[in-house]
Amino acid sequence: MLSAKTKASNKVIFVVLCIVAVAILYPLLFILNNSFKGKFYISADPFSLPTGETFAGLTNYVNGLIQTGLLSAIGWSFFITIISVILLILFTSMTAYYITRVKSVYATVLYYMFVFSMVVPFQMVMFTMTSLADKCHLRSPLGMCVLYLGFGAGLSVFMFSGFVKSIPLEIEEAAMIDGCNPLQTFFGVVFPILKPTAITVAILNAMWIWNDFLLPYLVIGISTKYKTIPVVVQMLVGSNGNKDMGALMAMLVLSIIPIIIFYLTCQKYIIEGVVAGAVKG
């Protein structure tokens, strides 16, 4: 039971938390608000609500979409993220299963290389990886998916193998005795047990691949039609001198909307996944 004193202090805490919540939401509301204002009114009075004169309707959204092709970028971001995550879940769970169950030099070396790769900062391989991707014709959305499989492999294999270790061998042996080959055993028996880890791995990878800027910027570049959302946003702001502030605000809003929808629908899994990833990583 809460005492009267606790109730009073909880009221104070509630007010403090409300203030923090406003501070957290404010930057997002700020760009949302300004995305509806005429582009010449934004810098003069960025904090007021759009009124009759300054209200621009959806002009900024239309202009921004024409200037940037953000819609196609959203499409390519979805394509690359989804394909990469599917490849990662499928192949790294198989690899993790193999290197956990097989005791050989190959498996051990591989395991430590995956763990090692998690520590190495991207800048270390940035230049050489880009030129290798160029040579091997990986400068395409599908090539990007292959690279993401390679970059995501470290954390994914590490998390899967941590879980495989806890699965009792007897289940697999029973399947083998019943005449399953290793592939049937893996997909019929082991993979279903790995599902919670697979969700965690999928969420962690989806988050960084969706938001990743440098890899698509360097590998696919800015002169193709395969640009992803962060690349388009960077181009809109970074390149030209005469910025269309209205279009910028509108494009920032459109870039954030898919993430918010994803978050609100899978919130439980995302928070659990991120905590699990943090504790294990």
């Binding site: 930057p27 810098s43 192949f91 900062p121 230049f127 390679g150 605000m249 995302i270």
Partner: protein
Amino acid sequence: MEKTLKRYFAVFTLPTVIAFAFAFIIPFAQGVYLSFCKFTTVGNATWVGLDNYKAAFESGQGFTSALGFTAAFTVISVITINLLAFTIALLLTRKVAGTNVFRTIFFMPNLIGGIVLGYTWQQMINAILYRYETTIVSNAKYGFWGLVILMNWQMIGYMMIIYIAGLQNVPTELIEAAKIDGATPWQTLIKVKVPMVMSSITICMFLTLSNSFKLFDQNKALTDGAPMKKTQMLALNIYETFYGRTGYEGVGQAKAVLFFIIVVAIALLQLSFTRSKEVEQ
């Protein structure tokens, strides 16, 4: 069973290993080699020994000043993020109304990508500074504190979730016992709660440390190093050395190796620290 699985090594491991080789193993090996070479593309390298490493420390290269900026930024961010996140976690574990809604809101910024976040905050900060007829790129102090605020805004929710999980695992009997013994709320916090969530504190310290130290997207979007590269962090400095002007690729690669060594040193320090804590318990 192990023997049958061994024969399937190609199916189970090769897809991941090939992608991993393209994305990590080959570029990493090339990167280490090229840090001792002069080159403009991977193909035309000539051995120059330690020249690149010597050049990296010349003051015109901006590496040492970027290291100083990065270190200062990291220290301030780690302290502020963890203090604020821990405080909010304490407030949210007191059964205040709307706890779940607050948790959802506070965690949200963590999902938004660095580039989009960086430009959102650039617009916000510039809107405020506009009243004083200045911008974020006119003074390195604005850029520094802008980055600190941005990083806090993005990471507090994430760390808060980890701290909440830790605080919820503190047995209530311990806190009750402390109360009966006449401990003040402050004493309960310092002598009971903090030691009990030490593992969460280590995880959060490490996550904020490595995320702040390796920061790139937010730095690129918010200030891009301006004014005069004074707000340039290490990752951005390396990027600029590679792609800013030709002829310095070797120096860039040497800097990347140094960056990698520092990151590994931090990780090892962290690992040994965690191990020693585990022994104590």
